[in-house]
Subunit: 619 residues, 2 copies
């Protein structure tokens, strides 16, 4: 154990380094780093167990800066631990550096990107679930929280779920420095209030002076001794601590010290130091126990039968789970609607109920992904809008999560617009590196689930409430980025592009138009992103540049836009094709209650409307 | 005052009617209605003050079913109050009926759509802010909460803000019936836990038996007597109460009783009744005091000066506020970054700090809109993703809210991707009835703010962190749905469409290409939605069908897709005459930290890249 004087010296170094790097960068958050320096110094010397020479070790603790803007402090810790050099630390915020303005997992010691506040704790809870219930390893999850972010609702989702699952491996450290970006926080230094909240959610709470090194050390020990509750340490701190000119003063959030002030600050802090800390190695080198994966036996459905794709999601997930022990599932209290319950009943040990906490649900998935699991998260597609910021940040985290949204579009019927996802394709297409899949039948659903399991990144599957006819054989393959040309001839006058429930309307329209002597090509664009550019361009050419798109989604950002996108180009890429004439059938007016048929007809996305649009195009 | 027997009879009627309407519809949520029937019967008889002959009265109480799925109970109350007929009530969930599966404000007694859980209380808090601090009228906001929705983080945002602002006019009634959709709630009947949470957030909490009519009445009285705290009444109830076959049984969520079971239930409940309740009229007919609006004097900026559009947002909002007393502003603890502080300093009485609670912030705006105010809500554009479900639902509520997202795109620079909005245009375009505006200079920003004030619905303004040159005269007009052709000649080879910060890159590209003898047309598409179809189609025709779009946004769903959309058609509409070849310049790789210039160049959206794309098109 180091001496309190060593702790203090390290803390001063962390402060000095936070100032040095931000002043050099000309921007950043030194004052928010300085308030937490004592907390982190004691953690680094005495409590964190982390093999910096092996950041992939499954036994390492996890350290998450939920207050991501204190990144300079985190980098100063990495420097002290010998993980990065002082030189690299000083590249903070420079183009091309791994030392970004907020932490990103381009650095191997960073599990997830933070900087959108209120996300680090929920993700920590997700990792905690994996640690306590799946890995069953003694690693801990240390989460540094800012006090401003304690306003975010997602923090309370994390408190609820962490308390409910008794995650004693999660230790949250609240850097209560009283000052937010714009002024005082709602609770300022009312530590009792934070502690009372934590206790009301089943957490162990400890109030300390966040600059008293002995109190800090004792609090960590007390937290480590918990057996059935996570801990929140409420540490009263001073923003800008250590430099008297800015201590506890408003107006110093997110501002680098000018060089002259930095010089005075470093002097007041005792000058530059280059202390190296030998961080404790993990207490065990035991690897998580996981049986080897087996070949997947996907469910098979008879062509001509009628099955809801949401129900095939449940079957497919169960099949994946049977073959791959790393598959886990979470759901937002609607598993009997999304059919995640099929998995939950088969593998209760790998299913974690998230209640109605969509943000926490996505964060849990990200946390499972951090631990190498393949997490599938499901709820009504409409309610993923609740977690869009978490999905956006998951992309920055290079997370591996699989999302399934059920009850897409007006075809859900009577429940009305609050339950209808009509913007989910737009939302999910605009997520970096995402794939967006939309099956029309049960066999396709099962295969697309396999595609999702095989994809590392953010994948999204859109399922339908209503039963739809099974049209594909169980042996058909559905690669990501592909499509299926279901109807074609040499005489095709128009290409109709559909997916999901509207694909069946397109097939009906085909039959009707055929009866009237008009041949159309029908494409199932099950891979909405990436869209099948080649097939669409060929079809446009073959059908005189006439396309009808039809989707159960708002007109903006969905399948129709994905099809248009297929004809545009990028700088330096193969030249763009001239746009075909595209008629987009999509939802344009606010839906109501009604039967699926009534609502699809009112939205103008049934066979009748496709027929009209085709006839209009062929003149 | 009615007798307890009258309360009971009404409660039984509400149960019977909830069963009748859902059984007739064949779907819906009778059991969730039955648990809260006693609570609502006493409320309707004794406490609610509402003139059902004048739903627009500014003195009416507000009754919000946060548990929107209990809509059958709400409609049964409307019937008992004489607001709707029994016949209309029985059209529940039918196509064409106002009696939808979840409440929507197509019915004049419904303030806001609910059905996405955890939203009614935050909106109630918004109305409470208006009532206590602006209207200064004695109306109350009664919010019926389900216990499943108590998991949603947004509930705790509402508890925080409601407690902080001491909203004694907000009375939340928690129907703690223990059972969620899929099974038991996290806390089941642990009323103490809910009460402890509420108290930890500064609320007055009362625990009662939710089927004891005297306790209910006493709790409402106690809540009404509060002077500086909102109240949460934790009412222990039984799901399906009144029909012994389903009472407190799982598996009965969201299921209509089959006709035979309904018959038995109605018999057990004492049969059909048609009690009419003379609901108390508001205690005052005092109108809210608001001075008349004056003509707006928008700020004016000198052409050639350099001003960030986010700063013009603050100036413009202050100008609107000076002229229009119904303008109010909320911000998510970043008002010194969004410049909402300019308004806040000028009109502190009409500014309400929302701390870092983006969901609550949008809900507060919706609440102010319910009370006839013009709410402007601002935060970093990236963080509006946190509130997407609230924005989606606001559209269903036909809410009147104005959103401003600052710090758009990679051009924010060093802070890195967590702070960059790169999906906000996609997200906001896919909101029903929204307008999406993206100014490139300060004078344009001021005028677009005026457009937003004039628009009733959901409007979104995207502002830029960096200063940009002022290019428009203060007298220029910018109608919604318009655009500006900034450069054109008879020799134009390519049309470049830009908006916001990239517009200035397009102008630079114009200059450079002109020097090389290549004329281009430059269009400022400040109205991203609705997009200026006519001007774009004309430009395509005039420039040989060659278009380059350039935007500081992901490739999906933003300006480029809006431009493509302008060339597509709808069933029955005229297709575009000339179909262009479109090259889209947008952000495709994950950005990092760096200077704005470095990041825009890396993203391929600077003048250099526009020049390349134009040359590629002209071959």
């Amino acid at each position: 154990m180091a001496t309190p004087q060593q702790w203090h010296e390290l803390a001063q170094q962390l402060r000095v380094d936070s100032i040095r790097s931000t002043t050099k960068a000309g921007s950043g958050h030194p004052s928010s780093s300085m308030s937490a320096a004592d907390l982190m110094a004691v953690l680094l010397y005495e409590h964190l167990c982390y093999d910096f020479s092996n950041p992939k070790s499954p036994n390492n603790d996890h350290l998450i800066f939920s207050k991501g803007h204190a990144a300079p402090l985190l980098y100063a810790m990495y420097k002290a631990a010998g993980a990065i050099s002082d030189e690299e630390m000083m590249t903070l915020r420079q183009f091309g550096s791994r030392i970004e303005g907020h932490p990103v997992p381009v650095l191997p010691y960073v599990d997830v990107a933070t900087g959108s506040l209120g996300q680090g704790l929920p993700i920590g809870v997700g990792i905690g679930l994996a640690g306590k219930y799946l890995d069953k390893l003694p690693y801990r999850i240390w989460v540094l929280l800012g006090d401003s972010e304690m306003s975010e609702g997602s923090i309370y989702e994390a408190l609820e779920l962490g308390g409910h699952y008794q995650l004693n491996n999660v230790i949250a450290i609240l850097d209560m420095n009283r000052l937010g970006q714009r002024g005082p926080t709602m609770l300022e230094w009312n530590g009792d209030a934070y502690a009372a909240r934590a206790r009301a959610f089943g957490w162990h709470a400890i109030e300390i002076d966040g600059h008293n090194l002995d109190q800090i050390n004792a609090a960590y020990k007390e937290a480590e001794a918990q057996t059935d509750a996570p801990t929140l340490i409420v540490a009263k701190t001073v923003k800008g601590k250590g430099f008297s000119e800015i201590e506890n003063k408003p107006g110093w959030h997110g501002k680098a010290l000018p060089p002259d002030a930095a010089e005075r600050a470093i002097k007041e802090l005792g000058g530059e130091r280059h202390i190296h800390v030998d961080v404790h190695k993990p207490k065990t080198d035991q690897a998580p126990q996981r049986p080897p994966a087996q070949p997947v036996q996907l469910p098979k459905y008879e062509v001509g039968s009628s099955v809801a794709t949401r129900s095939a999601y449940g079957d497919g997930l169960k099949a994946l789970g049977a073959a791959q022990p790393d598959v886990v599932a979470v759901d937002g209290e609607v598993s009997n609607s999304t059919y995640a319950e099929t998995f939950a009943h088969a593998f209760p040990d790998r299913y974690f109920e998230q209640y109605i906490e969509e943000e926490q649900m996505v964060a849990s998935a990200v946390g499972f992904g951090v631990r190498g699991y393949q997490p599938f998260a499901s709820t009504f597609a409409a309610f993923f809008t609740r977690a869009y910021d978490f999905i956006r940040m998951a992309a920055i985290s290079r997370a591996n999560i699989k999302l399934c949204g059920s009850h897409a579009g007006v075809s859900i019927g009577q429940d009305g617009p609050s339950q209808m996802a009509l913007e989910d394709l737009a939302m999910m297409r605009a997520v970096w590196s995402s794939i967006v899949l939309y099956p029309c039948d049960a066999n396709q659903t099962a295969h697309l689930l396999q595609d999702m399991a095989d994809y590392t990144g953010i994948s999204y599957l859109r399922t339908t409430r209503e039963k739809t006819p099974v049209i594909y054989s169980p042996d058909e393959q559905f690669p990501v980025g592909g499509s299926k040309v279901l109807r074609q001839s040499g005489e095709d006058k128009v290409t109709v592009v559909a997916a999901g429930i509207t694909l069946h309307e397109a097939l009906k329209a085909y039959d009707q138009l055929k009866g009237e002597g008009i041949a159309i090509r029908v494409i199932d664009a099950y891979s909405v992103k990436p869209i099948d550019v080649k097939t669409l361009r060929e079809a446009a050419q073959a059908t005189g540049g006439k396309i009808v798109t039809v989707e159960d989604h708002w007109i903006e950002g969905g399948l129709g836009d994905a099809v248009l996108e297929a004809f545009s180009g990028a700088e330096g890429s193969a030249p763009a094709a001239t746009l075909p004439t595209v008629v987009k059938l999509a939802v344009r007016t606010m839906p109501t209650s009604g039967t699926p048929e009534e609502l699809m007809d009112a939205a103008g996305i049934t066979a009748k409307h496709i027929v009209n649009a085709v006839k209009q195009l062929v003149g």
